[in-house]
């Protein structure tokens, strides 16, 4: 087991007063709270911060911790001094169900009643010694990336995540789990899937929390989605835009024919109703036309452009006052 430098974790000197400790905790809690932070290690950091605050805010616990001396450094191998537990008497219980507090914490202050070392869930009502209590495990959040095609047609995808389980000796341990998640047809980006019971382990026989997966789409070479609507940019030739044409355009459901009205300008947006992601109300596909000029590589082709310039008195910048 390793020593934890609670002062270092909160970034306060050893003689900091209660107000300074509270300020430091609040600042770090805002920064690392798993509901607020997007940092990958936010949850771990927040637990450390909570544990440090749990000890330093409480005069009795802080004094006990200080008695270990100030020569320890964060991460030093640590064993409690002989006779430590008896010395502490009864106040080992009564902490307010910390966030999976460390072995180090448990070795000094005792484990929560009814739980293995460090098995206290966040938000426990703080049962006293012997007063067993149950707590639901924490909810967890993760993002799952899927292909747009899978959102359109539905699919089953394997999803792996790291979770905390209670081991055979009651200690929390990290485990990698893989679940198959069926992605229903028409799921939109940002939508969440709830995997009941796949979150953090419960405590004292309480139920496990839930795992929430947020859908994110992989970048697609052709399409991008906004809500249930699908957007695509479609290159067209100048004569198709000028004269009107029927052109083939890709949709998630396959190629369809699209009528381009005569006199179309670049940037015009056409709507294919109901061709977006399916749903109670299916999304639409929006096709933005982009006129592409064919390269003129031969004399004959260059002449053709020159003839157009002669035949069509046209100033594309007329509106700019140049």
């Amino acid at each position: 087991m390793q020593y934890k430098d609670y002062y270092d974790i909160l970034g306060v000197p050893r003689d900091a007063d209660g107000a300074a400790i509270k300020r430091a905790y609040r600042k770090l809690a805002r920064k690392y709270h798993p509901d607020v932070s997007e940092e990958a290690d936010a949850e771990e950091r927040f637990k450390e911060v909570q544990e440090a605050y749990e000890v330093l805010k409480d005069a009795e616990k802080r004094e006990a911790y200080d008695r270990l001396g100030s020569n320890w450094r964060e991460g030093d191998p640590f064993t409690p001094p002989p006779g430590w537990e008896q010395d502490l008497g009864g106040h080992a219980g009564g902490f307010r169900g910390g966030a999976d507090f460390s072995d180090f914490f448990a070795s000094i202050f005792g484990a929560a009643p009814g739980g293995g070392p460090g098995g206290g869930p966040r938000g426990g009502p703080g049962g006293g010694p012997g007063g067993g209590f149950q707590m639901r495990g924490e909810d967890r959040n993760a993002r799952i990336r899927i292909r747009l095609e899978d959102a359109y047609a539905g699919a089953t995808r394997a999803f792996s995540f790291v979770t905390t389980e209670i081991g055979p000796r009651g200690e929390p341990q990290q485990a990698r789990k893989t679940v198959n998640v069926s992605i229903p047809k028409g799921v939109a980006e940002g939508q969440r899937i709830r995997l009941a019971g796949q979150g953090g382990a419960g405590f004292g026989g309480g139920p496990a929390g839930d795992l929430f997966l947020e859908i994110e789409f992989e970048p697609h070479a052709v399409f991008h989605a906004e809500g249930r609507d699908i957007h695509v940019e479609l290159p067209v030739a100048p004569w198709e835009a000028a004269l009107g044409a029927k052109v083939r355009t890709p949709t998630l459901g396959g190629t369809v024919e699209l009528s381009i009205p005569p006199g179309t300008q670049s940037g015009r947006r056409l709507r294919l109703a109901g061709r977006g992601l399916p749903g109670k109300v299916a999304g639409d596909q929006y096709v933005t036309l982009r006129i592409v000029t064919p390269p003129a590589t031969s004399d004959e082709q260059r002449d053709l452009y020159r003839r157009m310039a002669e035949l069509m008195p046209f100033d594309p910048r007329a509106g700019l006052g140049t």
């Binding site: 709270h33 509901d35 927040f46 969440r192 899937i193 709830r194």
Partner: protein
């Protein structure tokens, strides 16, 4: 295989169901509504219908209140800003992906 429960905005719960599903007392749900943290459809408590994602919102609200020592108006403001931040981050990521 896990059967994922998709949270659709149109799966709705009444006040009692909402309290049961979230594992809190009815009074807590009423309190959250009064602070605009939950926004059920319907005018009075008997008519309230909560979208299923509200369950997770209750848990987040309780965590924020407890861990950051906030009062309910603080939780309400925090959640509103987090929603906005979350939405902006998502759009930002989507834009970055499109830019390659």
């Amino acid at each position: 295989m896990i059967d994922p429960q998709f949270l659709h905005d149109d799966d709705s719960l009444d006040l009692d169901e909402m309290a049961r599903a979230s594992g809190v007392r009815v009074e807590i749900i009423v309190e959250l509504v009064s602070h605009d943290i939950l926004q059920p459809r319907g005018h009075d408590a008997r008519e309230w219908r909560f979208p299923a994602p509200s369950i997770e919102r209750v848990h987040r609200a309780l965590r924020l209140r407890r861990d950051l020592d906030l009062n309910w108006p603080g939780v309400s403001l925090g959640l509103a800003l987090l929603d906005e931040l979350h939405d902006l981050r998502r759009r930002h990521r989507a834009l970055l992906r499109r830019l390659g």
